[in-house]
Every structure is written in C-alpha cells, then in structure tokens.
C-alpha cells in the first residue's frame, strides 16, 4: 500500500511511468556465464563501501609518528603515519580489521571476475561489431583495476609493499630515454622520497575510482542501448532478445547476487587473513622482507622478471636495462593486443557484419586455441612468481626451476593451444553435444589431413522469429526449453 502511494507520488512529479513500463519489461538473456560482469560490478560496489570506512581512519602521510595502540610489538615505535594508521585500523578500530581484509579480498575478487568476464566475452565472440566500444572500455577497466589494486596495497607503507614499490621504481627507470624522468615524476624525487604515499592515496581513493565508475556507467549504458547478446537457440535470431524480464525476477536475482558477493567478501575478510601488515613491519631504508610476492594480478609481471635472463645489450652506446622487456614491453604488448583484438580478428576473418548471436567457443577453433594458449602463458608466468617458495617443497634449486620454467612457459602454451584446437575441431565435426561425449575416434580423425572434411555440426539453426505485437512489449513464448 505504502509503496504504491510513494510510487504514485514520485510518478506525479517525475513522469517516469511509460519509461518504467518499457524499462521494467526489458528482456535479458539467461545464461550463467552472463553473471560474471555483475560479480565484478558488485565487488566494485563493496570496494567503495568498505573503502569509505577505511578512508575515515587511514592517514596518508609519511611523517613520523609514534604508534601508541594495542599491538605490543610496535608500541612506542616511530613509524610513518600511514603505517601507524594501518596497524591501528587492524588492532585498535572496531571492525577495522574486518573492513581492511574484506576490502583486500574484494579487490582480488574484482579483478578475478573481470578476467573471467573477459574470457567469456573473448571465447564467445561478444566483442564483435557492434560491441567493440564496450570491449575497449572493458580492457581499460581491467587496466585501471590493476593499477588501483597495486596502489591500494602499497598505501600502508609496510616493508612488503615498499619492496614492491622499489621494483616498480626499477621498472620505471628501465624505460629508455625517459625512464629516469618517469621515476622522478611519479615519486617526486629519487626513491623513496616523501611524496609517493599521498600520491598513491589520491590516485586510489579519488582519481581512479572516479574513472572506473564513469567507465562502468558508460559500459552499462551501451549494454542497455545495444541489448545483451545471446547464444543461438530455439527462437533466437539476430533481431530479437530471448530471456526473462527485468522486473521482478531478474532484479531480485541480481540483488541476490549482490548480497552473495558482499557475503563472500565479508566471510573471507573475517575468516581468512590477508596482508597482515603488522607482521611485515614498516618500510625502512635498506631493509627488505622475504619471500616477496605481489598480489596475484601483478604476479605475471613478477614471474616474467624472474625468468628473463640478465641481458643488458647496448643500443646506440646506451645500456638497455634488463627490466625493460619483461615489465614494460610484455605488458605493453599484452594490452596492445587486447585493445586491438576485435579489429585484428576482423582483419583476418573479413567478417564485418554486426552480430547479436554469440558463438560457441568451438565455432572458432583458432581463436579458442590462441585464447587457451594465452591464458596458459600468463598462468605459467603467474606460477613463476613463487618459484622461491616452491623450492622449499620440491628440494630443487631455484636456478634449476628457472631453467625449466623458461622452456615450460613457451612449450606448454603451444601444447595446450594445439590440444584445444584439435578438441574444438573434433567437437565441431562430430555429433556430440558436449566435450566429454566426443569419441576418441573423432579426435584422431581431426589429426589426419582428411578429417576436416566430415560433416560439421552447425550452431542450432535460428528458428523463424515470433511475431512481435504492436505495443512492442515482450511476448511470452512459454517456459525456458
């Protein structure tokens, strides 16, 4: 009763009735893989909420202060205000540790969800025309999320993240011609200087979140305008969207997903320790802590750093720093290829038509193989970032492991790509609906030269569209198949 009156009161003043009618009836295709973007979105919302709490207690200053809180090992020590307030948040502020840890877990979840979402978009060809803009926005969001994550865990000015900042400084210095200037620009002086923590703070709580929020808004506005893509199936064509209506079912499910994400962040944040900065100690000149690993989403760069040999060739009489290729060229090329992928694929497939129907990953075996190889490559680089920890369990020397990994990091992706290609082709050409039902004979047939000429399984044919009524409202075609 009350809600009806409130809605009428608002409608009377804002006149959203007709807009709401079409909006609330919007159809969204139902597939569980379409939820990944929402998981990323809700992790970001949780980051904002928990982040606001943290900003009310964190002091982004490198000025020395005496910690007088309840953590005994640090009590009475002179440390930076940033470190002191981080330890105080963990020990002396009610809910502080829960907020700090759940915020950190939410960041890991945020970037993980973006990567899974990117994989779904990639393997189903959702980035094709007309969705190239959203792909570019999405890759930018990934980049911004990586940067903000790194900035976030470097803010407490502890010894572990401070060591990471050293390495970041080395990366900046390694850029030819402008490297030294870049390093001094970011740090405000020679490392470590007095400026980096306040600068990271403003980037982390204001500049980058504002950019991320604006880009997410654009990302979703474009999605609403273009309507979500859908898998081929009965009744689904390039000219319709088949699924469930926004209100009430989809909205309630989505809100449920939001609370599930919040719940996951809180459960992890309360029950699983992460980034115990009080154990690392404050950043101090000349000190280091080991083993030193960054967060997982930067781990592929650290792995590349460990595997790249100590080569410093001379170019035009100048020494090319050994960090340049693994930490500047590699991520630069990675993001260049990511940004350009829709356009590169269009160049090779000559497919310029707009697509609203997704492809099954098997429908493009080469793209599938390249994607699988790429994920394997970056996954192995990530694995390489903990080789020094692995030695403790295997008894092999780090040098031996590095030698092995240098080969593995190129050989294994080639292998997994080849396997993926063969399996996709076998699946495509056989009559099996699912990968696990493919016969071994189908796979072997794929590997022989004449195997590719067998009958192909087409994607389910688009059935003739249902006639759309005059009011353009969605038509019920009965329960989902």
């Amino acid at each position: 009763m009350i809600t009806r009156r409130v809605v009428r009161w608002l409608d009377d003043r804002l006149g959203f009735g007709s807009l709401a009618k079409s909006g609330l009836n919007k159809v969204f295709p139902d597939h569980w893989t379409f939820m990944m973007g929402e998981v990323a979105l809700y992790s970001f919302v949780y980051l904002l909420i928990s982040g606001v709490f943290l900003t009310l207690f964190f002091d982004p200053s490198e000025a020395k202060t005496t910690y007088l809180g309840s953590y005994d090992a640090l009590h009475g020590s002179k440390v930076s205000a940033a470190y002191s307030s981080s330890v105080a948040l963990s020990y002396d502020v009610r809910l502080g540790l829960l907020m700090r840890q759940s915020h950190h877990w939410a960041a890991l979840l945020f970037i993980g969800a973006i990567v899974v979402h990117l994989a779904r978009i990639f393997f189903t060809g959702a980035f094709r025309r007309p969705r190239e803009i959203n792909w570019v926005i999405g890759v930018t969001l990934l980049l911004l999320a990586l940067v903000n994550g790194f900035a976030g865990y470097s803010m407490p000015d502890d010894l572990l993240s401070g060591t990471g900042l050293r390495i970041a400084n080395g990366v900046l210095l390694s850029i030819p011609v402008i490297g030294a200037w870049a390093s001094f620009l970011v740090f405000g002086s020679e490392f470590p200087g007095q400026h980096i923590i306040p600068r990271l703070y403003i980037a982390h709580v204001l500049i980058v979140p504002a950019l991320i929020a604006a880009l997410i808004a654009a990302h979703m506005a474009i999605l609403v305008r273009q309507k979500h893509s859908q898998f081929p199936g009965p009744g689904r064509t390039e000219h319709n969207v088949v699924g469930s209506r926004l209100w009430p079912g989809y909205t309630v499910k989505s809100i449920g997903l939001m609370f599930a994400v919040f719940g996951a962040c809180l459960l992890l944040g309360g029950l699983v320790q992460i980034n115990p900065v009080w154990l690392w100690g404050p950043f101090e000149p000349g000190s280091v802590t080991g083993p030193a690993q960054p967060d997982w989403y930067v781990g592929w760069l650290d792995g590349a750093l460990r595997l790249y040999p100590p080569w410093e060739p001379h170019l035009f009489g100048y020494r090319l720093p050994s960090l340049f290729v693994p930490t500047v060229v590699l991520p630069g090329l990675t993001f260049l290829v990511l940004y350009l992928w829709p356009f590169l694929e269009r160049l090779f497939t000559k497919d310029r038509a707009p697509h609203e129907l997704l492809e099954r990953p098997r429908d493009r075996p080469l793209r599938l193989a390249l994607g699988v190889a790429a994920f394997t490559f970056y996954g192995l680089l990530l694995a390489a970032f903990s080789l020094d920890v692995v030695t403790r369990f295997t008894g092999l020397s780090v040098t031996a492991l590095v030698e092995v990994f240098r080969v593995v990091v190129f050989a294994v992706p080639a292998l997994t790509g080849l396997i993926a290609f063969t399996l996709a082709r076998a699946l495509l050409h056989s009559e099996a609906p699912r990968l696990l039902e493919v016969a071994w004979s189908d796979v072997v047939a794929e590997m022989t030269p004449s195997g590719g000429s067998r009958r192909r399984s087409e994607p389910p044919a688009a059935v003739a569209a249902v006639t759309v009524p005059e009011d353009h409202l969605p038509v019920d075609v009965g329960p989902a198949p």
Binding site: G170, N240, K253, F262, L266, S287, L305
Partner: protein, 282 residues
C-alpha cells in the same frame, strides 16, 4: 487442482529469518566482542542468507518465463543518417577556414598549457641523472648503522654482514651498504683481489642491480649475497659478481679505509651504478 507447494516460500522465509538473526547477532558481537572472525561470519552469513532467500524467491515464486523482445537495428536508415549529418553541419558555412585554423591553434596552445603543470610533480633543482649518479658517500665519510652508531673495524665480526649508511642525521636509502668481513688471505688470492678492502672487510651497495631490492641474505659458507626478491646471487670474493639469477651487473663496491680512531670510512665513491640499471651510456 493441487495446491502449489509451500516449500520455496518456507525456505526463502527461513533464509530471511536467518539473515535477520545473523545481523542481530552481528550487532551484539560488535558491542560485546572484538573478534573479526565473529563479525565477518555473522555479517557475511547474514548477506549470504539474504542472497539465498532472494534467489529462491526469484526462481521459484516470482513470475518467470521466456520472453521475446524485438531488437531494433542499430544501423541508421539512410534518411535518418542524412538528417543527422545535416543537423551536425549546421553553422559550417558561417565558420570560415581562418576561424577554424586559428581556433585549432588556440586549442593546441591550451592543450599544451594544460599538460605543463605535470612538471610540478618533478622535484625542483637538479634533474634525475645528477641525483641517480651520486650518493652521500665521499672519501672520509664514516659509516654508521641504521640506529646511528658508528662502526669500528674491530667490531665487524668475520662471517657476518652488517647494513651501514653514511654518517648523517637520517639513513639514506640509495647509499645503503652491506659490510662483510672475509678472510684476507682468501681475498688476496681471488681474481678480484683485495682492492678496496681493509683487513678482509669489504663493502658493497646493498641495492640489487636487478630491480633494487636490498640484498639482505648472506650465505657464509659459500660467501654469497642473495637477493630475496628474484633470487640473484653475488659472489662476494669476486667483487660481488652475479653468479645466478637475473641481476645483470655486479654490486658496486665501496672502497674502505680506517680513520685514526679506528672507525670505518669510505675511501671514495661506489665503483659503478647503484641499484637497477637506467638508460645511460656505458
């Protein structure tokens, strides 16, 4: 006609009750306890219970079905496109070329002016190369520990490594030095020789030439300095030459001397570039 089952309604309601109870429990725990585990479990549990209830409600009770919505084409019709273009071009004839070009020049000027404030992020005074090439070490500067205590030659225990800085009010990061005491005879016999050492004491920059991490681990028996970040190893007897790992250059050596009071001091500056390589000649 059979009554629809009440199970989804009961399950969802139970979830909502559990969520409410967990939230109340969280408030109690917040007031009485100081346990992040309990707080996380209760508040997180409340969220998860609410999520489960909402999903059961949506999937089993709320109206659902498969609906079809028309997808209007994105590509504009020719007439619409033409009208849009002509709307955009309005005012084009009243804007002659000179105006356009000078406007572009103004924009260019303002654009450059807008980027220039970035320069303020750089430190004033000398450029980065001067700062990178120099440290506070000079001939005659004495060594101190991070607590500010000066180091005497006879206090350096053989087989140990000590982190020292130039004598100054604050320890300076780029001047961090690791001081070791080796067997003088072994040092004489090595390829590198005993240059820069005093009675077996040698000093090197502590910053790894790979990515700049302090080389904090000293392995006595093999006499290697080991960097914890990416596992570069340096042979101390051979002028801290890298023998394993990704470090491309030896750790620069700081020549040592002893002053009249027995305190260790530098006898010059570092023998090479400190820390990770940057773009420079040689």
């Amino acid at each position: 006609m059979t009554r629809p089952s009440r199970t989804p309604e009961l399950v969802a309601s139970a979830c909502f009750l559990a969520a409410g109870a967990a939230a109340a429990g969280f408030v109690v725990a917040f007031i009485t306890e100081n346990s992040p585990q309990l707080e996380g479990l209760l508040l997180g549990g409340a969220c998860v219970a609410l999520a489960l209830g909402l999903i059961v409600w949506a999937m089993h009770l709320l109206p659902s079905g498969t609906y079809v919505e028309e997808r209007p084409p994105m590509q504009p019709l020719a007439e619409v496109e033409k009208e849009f273009q002509s709307t955009l071009q309005r005012g084009g004839r009243q804007t002659p070329g000179l105006l356009r070009r000078t406007l572009m020049l103004a924009g260019l000027g303002l654009g450059v002016a807008a980027i220039v404030p970035l320069r303020s992020l750089l430190p004033s005074g000398r450029g980065p190369y001067a700062a990178l090439q120099q440290t506070a070490w000079r001939r005659g500067v004495r060594m101190m520990t991070s607590e500010g205590k000066l180091v005497r030659l006879d206090e350096v225990v053989p087989g140990t490594a000590l982190t020292v800085f130039p004598e100054a009010p604050q320890p300076q990061d780029d001047a961090t030095v690791i001081l070791l005491r080796l067997d003088p005879a072994a040092l004489e016999q090595s390829h590198h020789g005993a240059a820069g050492s005093v009675d077996g004491c040698v000093a090197f920059s502590k910053l790894c030439t790979h990515a700049g991490c302090p080389v904090g681990l000293y392995e006595q028996t093999s006499q290697e300095l080991f960097c914890p970040c990416h596992q570069s190893a340096f042979d101390v007897r051979e002028g801290a030459r890298p023998i394993a790992g990704p470090a491309p250059r030896p750790l620069p050596q700081l020549p040592l001397a002893v002053d009249s009071d027995g305190y260790l001091q530098a006898d010059g500056t570092f023998s090479g570039q400190v820390g990770p390589t940057y773009w420079r000649r040689g």
